[in-house]
Amino acid sequence: MTTDESTVDTNGVHTIERQSLRTRLLTANTFWIGLVLLGLVIVFSVLAPDAFPTVFTAQTLLIETAVLLVLAVGMTFVIITGGIDLSVGSVLIFAGMVSAKTMEAMSPNGNALNAGWDVILVGLVVAIAGGTAWGFLNGFLIAVAKIPPLIVTLGTLGAALGAASLINNGSDIRTVPTELRNTLGYGTSFGGIPNLVLVAVVITAVAAWLLHTTRFGRHTYAVGSNAEAARRSGIGVTRHLTLVYLLTGLLAGVAGFMSLAYYGSTTISAHATDNLNAIAAVVMGGTSLFGGIGSVLGTVIGVFIPAVLKKGFNIVGVQDFWQMIAVGAVLIAAVWFDQQRRRARNRL
């Protein structure tokens, strides 16, 4: 592009310019997938002007995606390192289960419905600790024992679900504190914004900050781009990979607690495809399965594309099954674009 030239700055030192904003925009995957989302919103708004572009639809859309968003944000870090985490759904269930069980154990007659904030806070800590523990196990096996992430997290996918089921003999726990459900689960703040959504937004914003502006984020990209180069540059690759999986486990723990607050149950059977949904969202958002490329904003868009499709199809009366087909197509197209771009670019 015409603006990409070197210039001489005021001190007479030759400097090299950045690309123009326009070039940077047009070459960003996020930009194109964002246009897809915008297009979907416009199409459904035109097709159902009374039902789709409403506050109610927006609220339910946001609430229904909040938990998945937290999982997908963690998954973004993992996939940028060139890894994968299949265990997030099971870890979510495990975290919810140990949390609910702990809150029951702290309540009279094992019924946590009337538990207060002291019990709820302990429940939160236990959920986070439970998720973090699985994340650490994943990270250790992948980074230290050098077992491929697909295998490790396939293993912990089963193990975490099995462990969660053992805790309550395979059945769900349903005595979730009413106080928790009324606040985090259904409460709203700032004139109608669901608290569940607020939590997800804060987590997403912090994660975006971490990934895009800090050294931790930079090293995450470096490890995914070329782990050996990162190692030779003095980056502690083993430690960093462990931390990334730990972070993803921690977020799955938080998601488990959010899920508990929203559904009022541990919902053992409802998260079998959470892992695939999270991976699909991340990849649709332009994060490369080969590592080294990706963004949190892309993941946010990638989470909303299936959700908007589903809601839109429901409202205009198209069968749900079409949503699955459409999401599948978008996903494959996104990966195809990523591969094309790499082929065009890496002239090694």
Partner: protein, 258 residues
């Protein structure tokens, strides 16, 4: 050569290194002094890259010793070598293709913002870009823009960035494993000039190259590796092309070289 150049700055003594059943180094010795360019030459598979990796902490020798400024040192990690002021351009480059040239220059040495935000780990991207663009300009690395992924650059540009990264951070020794292999005539000349400049600042430069005229043009001394062992040493001014080729192929050996 300067007066301080009689003591070796970095010295390897009888290094051995095996990869499974392949003996890459079989008692290789090597030395380089401050303010000199040493060319390390040898046929493919002679063990040059392996020797460089051992001396820059990327690999650990099975036996043998390494001395830096006369003291025995252990190069357990790349960080240990970097702390001694040793930087390396690896033959396989070891850059992060998805990151831009500035990010690659500062890989593992990222600048952080001053104050509280920096302590939180926030990067000073603007300062890194500025410094990078100045260093690249100073070293004659021509890039269209400072924020394209390095994987989209030409092989020559990528190699120039790797060379720049090593000389920007080195304070004592620079290893360059075939730094000119992918370069055109102009870029090659630039790299050779950078090598001379770095040498004149008093640093030691170790150049691996298969280009004999290039070796004779820039090197002060030549050490020859063959089948994992040093087989000959020359002062570049006294050596001929035939000497070098003879030593590499085994036609010529020096008794005292090993």
């Amino acid at each position: 050569m300067s007066e301080t150049a009689n003591e070796p700055l970095l010295e390897a003594s009888e290094l051995t290194k095996s990869y499974g059943s392949v003996e890459a180094l079989r008692g290789a010795s090597f030395e380089v002094r401050a303010g000199e360019v040493v060319a390390l030459i040898g046929d493919n598979g002679a063990g040059k890259s392996t020797l460089v990796k051992c001396l820059s902490g990327v690999e650990q020798q099975d036996s043998g010793e390494i001395f830096f400024e006369g003291e025995r040192v252990r190069m357990d990690t790349p960080t240990a070598a970097r702390k001694l002021g040793i930087e390396t351009v690896y033959q396989d480059l070891a850059v992060a293709p998805e990151l831009d040239p500035a990010a690659n220059l500062f890989l593992g040495r990222e600048l952080r913002l001053p104050g509280f935000l920096g302590r939180l780990g926030m990067l000073d991207k603007r300062a890194m870009r500025k410094r990078a663009s100045q260093e690249f300009a100073r070293l004659g690395v021509t890039l269209q823009s400072i924020d394209v992924p390095i994987g989209s650059l030409s092989g020559g540009q990528r190699q120039s960035v790797a060379v720049a990264r090593s000389v920007v951070w080195a304070s004592k020794v620079v290893f360059m494993d075939e730094p000119t292999a992918a370069l055109g005539v102009v870029q090659r000349e630039r790299v050779l000039n950078v090598i001379r400049k770095v040498r004149d600042q008093g640093m030691a430069v170790v150049l691996i190259s298969h280009n004999m005229p290039e070796v004779l043009a820039v090197a002060d001394r030549v050490e020859v590796l063959r089948l994992g062992k040093r087989v000959a040493r020359f002062t570049a001014a006294d050596a001929t092309l035939e000497d070098l080729v003879g030593a590499m192929t085994g036609a010529l050996t020096q008794e005292d070289a090993a």
